[in-house]
Symmetry: C2
DNA sequence: CCTACCGATCGGTAGG
DNA sequence: CCTACCGATCGGTAGG
């Protein structure tokens, strides 16, 4: 049973994702909530505050999903991490969209804090690959920076094509298989 | 020697990329041009018209870059196409950003036309990979859809991290190498 | 390219 | 949660 406050955050996620933060007015939000514009201010102190909570909850969701990935063989962990990330995107496409695309309209100091938080998330992916490489699960001459950027590109672009009902586990596995062995498939064997 | 009209389009690209279409006012554009707001209307008929030309020119640039890729061995062509795309992004980061992120604020019917145009561009990438696969340059069991989505993710996400002076040829080659042989590097050989 | 202006809408507030 | 309102700003226009 969602509170009106929770409903408002959900509605704001949807509209910010659809029309952009600056393309959404408080009047739009009020209409979607079935309220008068002035009444919104009993549920939030400002439009900006809604953006803050949506981006924070987005960050928390992505981190939590990664936290839940069990330990295990290095390359397998990457596959599960990819499943985790795409699962969050599909489960909350609007929030993921605001997190990825609208965060830049955060006022300072939240904007700077957000960037630091996102960097931390990307760092976790780098460590995931780094760790796999160090444990000999990846080719010895791997260009880790390029690989990380490739994985993050796939992860960060996903909100643009993700369908709510998509089978993200299967999608993640297909991405992973392509990344793991490449499109050519007869690479130099590891030395 | 750029005309004032051309200057305005360049300035609009930069501000739309920095602050978003709805986050940029005609007053902002006027200030950046050193004009009074009303004076802009001798250079453009509306703010929307600026968005239309920026996104159109962006589409034209990406297509032209792909057109200029010479024929050749299939996998090599993919590498050069990647260089072409990243070169456009680095050469016109602002326009590429507006093209990738702000196009959704196009009014109809331009918005629908834009989507069709972008789909055509993505189709060219699919054909590039498809062709390479059919000519035996890629592994026989390749998941082409996943590979195309991976390449397009890397291409479409590039505007977020690209630095204007970046060596895009080298970056493209590193992406290509990672994509070609994968992160593991001891895949099944093609049958 | 400027000045002066238009009606509409913006985010937000007061008082109930 | 509503009505009534605030000053500021919005994109755009008229007339020069």
């Amino acid at each position: 049973m969602a509170t009106r406050r929770e409903e408002l955050v959900t509605v704001a996620s949807r509209l910010f994702a659809e029309r952009g933060y600056h393309g959404t007015s408080m009047a739009d939000l009020a209409e979607a909530m079935g309220l008068q514009k002035g009444s919104l201010y009993s549920l939030t102190e400002s439009k900006q505050e809604l953006l803050v909570v949506i981006t924070r909850e987005g960050a928390a969701s992505f981190h939590a999903a990664l936290d839940a990935v069990p330990d295990g063989e290095p390359p397998e962990r990457i596959r599960l991490a990819l499943r985790a990330h795409l699962g969050v995107v599909a489960g909350q496409v609007s929030a993921a969209t605001v997190f990825t695309r609208e965060w830049r309209f955060l006022d300072e100091p939240e904007r700077t804090a957000f960037r630091a938080e996102r960097r931390r998330y990307e760092e976790r992916w780098r460590e995931l690959l780094q760790d796999a490489a160090e444990r000999g699960a990846l080719r010895s001459d791997l260009d880790i920076e390029a690989a990380v950027l490739l994985v993050l590109s796939a992860a960060n672009w996903a909100y643009t094509w993700m369908r709510p009902g998509a089978n993200t586990d299967e999608l993640a596995d297909r991405f992973f298989a392509t990344l793991l062995d490449g499109v050519r498939g007869y690479a130099t064997r590891p030395s």
